[in-house]
């Protein structure tokens, strides 16, 4: 049975834990990948995304069923991730563990060997540069490139005007371009 988020929220608010479990199962992948993009560590992203769901469960009475669940959940997740980043002195080192959280899409395998090598090198540099970006720039870039959101959706998620999203994207890409050009 395909139940929409609003109905699951109403049921969860009435104390139906199974309904909340369905909400979690429906959004867990997006939640995990959002967290990975923000903190850059698989274990921590898992833990933080699950912790955010646990907090969402305790605050479920405050959810407006008429509004998208994930946007509401993301505000909790985002705050948790930024607090985590702020509290970890070693975050740069963790993020710089090599961008293992990204992989090439399969079409790269169809390239000629020299082109493939070039692409792999570009990906290595991009992953390294992505890890070094300021948090706000990395978040904007991840939401655009890996979650495929539109500017207005990113602006809503980040609580900033569209112009700020675009300038953060430009700044992030300028950093990545510099990394690609470095020899």
């Amino acid at each position: 049975m395909n139940v929409d988020d609003a109905e699951l929220i109403v049921r969860a608010q009435a104390g139906d834990t199974e309904a909340f479990g369905m909400l979690v199962t429906r959004h867990m992948r997006q939640a995990y990948f959002s967290a990975v993009g923000l903190v850059g560590s698989r274990e921590d992203a898992l833990d933080l995304s699950q912790e955010a769901f646990a907090r969402a469960f305790h605050a479920r009475k405050t959810i407006d069923p008429a509004r998208p669940f994930y946007a509401w959940y993301y505000t909790i997740l985002r705050r948790l991730c930024f607090n985590w980043l702020r509290d970890r002195r070693s975050r740069r080192e963790r993020l710089q563990q090599g961008g293992w959280w990204l992989e090439e899409v399969s079409l790269a395998a169809m390239d000629a060997p020299d082109r493939d090598l070039e692409r792999r090198e570009a990906h290595r540099r991009i992953a390294g540069a992505l890890a070094k970006l300021p948090d706000a720039e990395r978040e904007a870039l991840v939401l655009k490139e890996f979650e495929g959101l539109k500017y207005r959706e990113i602006a809503a998620r980040m609580g900033t005007p569209i112009g700020t999203v675009m300038s953060r994207l430009y700044s992030a890409r300028a950093h990545l371009a510099k990394a690609l050009e470095e020899q």
Binding site: I126, A127, L176, A177, E181
Partner: protein, 153 residues
């Protein structure tokens, strides 16, 4: 130096969020300026690289265990709240009963040196101040968004 409008046009065109007029405007600007052309090409190169990258999938067991982990966290949170709440009430009642009694006996006993009396009062005031400070921090610190600074709304 490329102006903000041109940079915004480059972003919009790269991300396919442009109108036909935006594209025409950018093409005209690129035709007139080598700097704009170079920047557009530079940004295109990054876009091409990032568009061939994707999230690395975790194992299937990760998803199988996901909801159970959330459930456990939820359950443990409730358990901790009960334990901490009960402990807090017990501690508060105990202190409420014990502190006045301790202070009375301390100040009624003339054999106690003044320095001990001052030290006990200082410790009690210090503990009170710490509790107030921690509570205030918990109520305010987590509400601050690190992005609030410098963002125009």
């Amino acid at each position: 130096m490329i102006d903000d409008r041109t940079l915004a046009l480059i972003m919009a065109v790269l991300d396919d969020e442009h109108s036909p007029e935006d594209l025409k405007e950018l093409e005209d600007l690129a035709a007139a300026s080598a700097e704009v052309r170079d920047e557009w090409r530079r940004q295109q190169r990054v876009k091409e690289a990032t568009s061939t990258m994707a999230w690395r999938e975790p194992t299937a067991e990760t998803w199988d265990r996901y909801w159970m982990s959330v459930y456990n966290k939820t359950e443990r949170k409730i358990a901790w709240l009960l334990v901490l709440g009960g402990s807090f009430v017990l501690a508060a009642v105990g202190l409420w009963e014990a502190v006045p009694h301790m202070l009375r006996s301390l100040f009624n006993d003339s054999s106690q040196p003044v320095s001990v009396r001052i030290a006990v009062v200082a410790i009690l005031l210090g503990v009170l101040l710490l509790v107030v400070s921690v509570i205030r921090e918990q109520l305010t610190a987590n509400r601050k968004d690190p992005y609030d600074k410098g963002v125009s709304r």
